[in-house]
Amino acid sequence: MDDPRATRLVERALRCYPRRWRRRHGDEAAELAALLIRDGASAGSIALSYLAGAAREWLTPRPGQRLSAAACALLIAVCSLSVSAVLLASPAPARAALTPTQAKGTSTSQARGRARCRPGSPQPVPGLIRAMGQPPAMIWEAGRDRSC
């Protein structure tokens, strides 16, 4: 490849392949790219083809990659569980405010709407607030700040 930019582009694309592949085909692939560019192919399309090939190479499961795939799956599962746990733990005051209304037979969405839009004085929920260890004003503030 005479053009240094084309050389760099193809070399960068080839660097995306796994090391095993580069050891096996790296030199040959670089020479093939040089020959194709000499014939008039664009360096960009060759680099793109190598990039797609590299993506396929990484995504194709191999016998030696089973363990790492299992480790990745386990890591993803642990992360998902952690995120779910954090999301469940965070909106505790809002969930606490809804519970007595639901007990009177109102649907969840209606109860949520009232809790958010109530303009008058606050109606603290004694049992649950105490259980959460927070003062009643906290609930009222949360309801007023939201838009209706």
């Binding site: 592949w21 085909h25 030199d27 040959e28 692939a29 670089a30 020479e31 093939l32 790219a33 020959l35 194709l36 399309s45 060759i46 793109l48 083809s49 190598y50 990039l51 797609a52 090939g53 590299a54 396929r56 190479e57």
Partner: protein, 114 residues
């Protein structure tokens, strides 16, 4: 995929799932060993299909893992590839299967009057 031939023989068409590029590479190697650049040129002439270099090496790797082709000692920086005996058998089985399907398709077109 196992297929029954007309003579009752059961053959395995392993090429049914490897993709068009792999089949074209095997066809190109059927008349002798070639390296990557020669394969791309030959396939372009033979089938008017321009294989990208990434596609070529992906297919070569797959065929090598299936032991349908083998790499010969490097000539300078180029590795020539050669079709193996199982590769030739797989290609024959695949071409037989294509011929059967093609014959059936032509017959149906005639019967349908299209």
């Amino acid at each position: 995929m196992r297929m029954s031939g007309r003579d009752g023989r059961t053959e395995q068409d392993v090429l049914r799932r490897v993709g068009e590029a792999s089949v074209l590479i095997l066809i190109s190697l059927a008349d002798g060993p070639k390296h990557g650049y020669a394969l791309i040129q030959d396939i372009k002439e033979l089938a008017e299909v321009e294989l990208g270099p990434g596609t070529l090496y992906g297919a070569l790797d797959r065929l090598e893992r299936l032991e349908l082709i083998e790499s010969l000692p490097a000539d300078d920086r180029r590795h020539p590839y050669r079709i193996t005996a199982p590769g030739a058998a797989a290609l024959r089985a695949h071409l037989d299967s294509l011929e059967r399907v093609s014959a059936a398709a032509r017959l149906r077109l005639r019967l349908g009057g299209v």
